[in-house]
């Protein structure tokens, strides 16, 4: 596939990710920090986020499974997940974390379990989307093209 068609595809794909709320402006910030000296910065940060989130999700599952649920502990983990998702621009993950924290405040176990499922789903979705995005980038680069990047406001 020629470069311009790949670039078009890339633009359409990433635009959709923003419109559907998967990504927000912080992701663009990350893209602007990537350059020839750090060509894989965005995918590296994303990898670290998914590593971190997997650990946190496992912890959350474990803590919610206890006889007596420690809501303070849940809240602390969700706070961490909220923070790191915000740092990479994973907006939908961050938004579920906001709801999740409300459930913790209310000591609402059912609500928390629901949020856990939701946040797992959102992490899974955004990971797949980003994997596809990074693959498209590699395709463009392989054909000698430049990856289009959004300007910051």
């Amino acid at each position: 596939m020629e470069v311009s068609r790949l670039q078009r595809r890339y633009i359409d794909f990433i635009s959709a990710l923003f419109h559907e709320g998967f990504l927000d402006s912080q992701f663009t910030e990350l893209q602007h920090l990537q350059d020839e000296s750090n060509p894989d910065f965005v995918s590296e940060v994303a990898s670290l986020f998914f590593e971190d989130s997997e650990r946190l999700l496992n912890e959350l599952s474990r803590t919610l499974d206890q006889q007596t649920v420690d809501f303070k502990k849940i809240d602390a983990h969700v706070h961490q997940l909220k923070g790191s998702s915000a740092s990479i621009g994973a907006q939908r993950v961050k938004n579920v974390c906001l709801t999740f924290r409300s459930c913790c405040d209310e000591n609402n176990l059912e609500g928390c379990l629901g949020c856990l499922q939701q946040v797992k789903q959102e992490c899974y979705l955004v990971k797949n989307k980003l994997d596809a995005l990074f693959r498209l980038e590699q395709q463009i680069l392989a054909t000698g093209g430049v990856v289009p990047i959004m300007s910051k406001d």
Partner: protein, 189 residues
């Protein structure tokens, strides 16, 4: 001790989150700072040459400062020692109290900001930290540098101490932070 005017400033970044550490490191390096990152306040104090003695409220220097640091930037919410606790320990230490400290937090809580500024923090960054925030570090680094260069007598030291402590009392109004806006979808060729 000679002041090396051409040396890069060295920033110590403290954050328990993997991805946040990577981000802050990149932001600082892009802004031409030398960076060391650690994942806890305890490790930060170790690097700075302070033993964290649990039984005393004051920390004492065990030996020479391990590394020379010009600014410390730390997350507020960390397990164990919080950024606030770290700030307190630094400001209580005679060897470290003059190092500017910046607190980062994902939560915009005025009382928290006020508390940190009152404890001697020089800046408060709302997370996620952006490249535009990096320009707010320079004034604090330059202020320290010129203070080191200029203070030649005890009197001068006292004057600059008084001046810097009053300028530290930033107004809470400076920190009513605006909502971040979404970028327009605009492509550069």
């Amino acid at each position: 001790m000679a002041i090396a005017t051409d040396t890069q400033f060295h920033v110590l970044a403290v954050d328990d989150s993997l991805s946040d550490r990577k981000l802050i490191e990149r932001l600082l390096k892009t802004s031409s700072y030398q960076v060391t990152t650690v994942d806890s306040g305890t490790k930060a104090l170790e690097l700075l040459g302070l033993q964290d003695d649990q039984t005393n409220t004051l920390s004492y220097p065990t030996n020479q400062q391990e590394i020379e640091v010009n600014l410390i930037i730390t997350d507020y919410c960390m397990p164990g020692m919080t950024g606030y606790d770290l700030l307190k320990k630094i400001k209580e230490s005679s060897s470290l109290k003059d190092i500017p400290v910046v607190i980062m937090s994902s939560e915009n809580v005025p009382s928290r900001i006020k508390r940190c500024l009152e404890e001697g923090a020089d800046e408060f960054f709302l997370k996620p930290v952006q490249l535009s925030d990096m320009s707010r570090l320079k004034p604090h680094l330059l202020k320290r540098k010129s203070k080191d260069c200029n203070s030649s007598s005890a009197n001068t030291c006292n004057e600059s101490n008084n001046e810097s402590s009053s300028s530290k009392r930033k107004q809470i109004d400076d920190y009513i932070l605006p909502e971040r806006t979404r970028p327009r979808l605009f492509f550069e060729r």
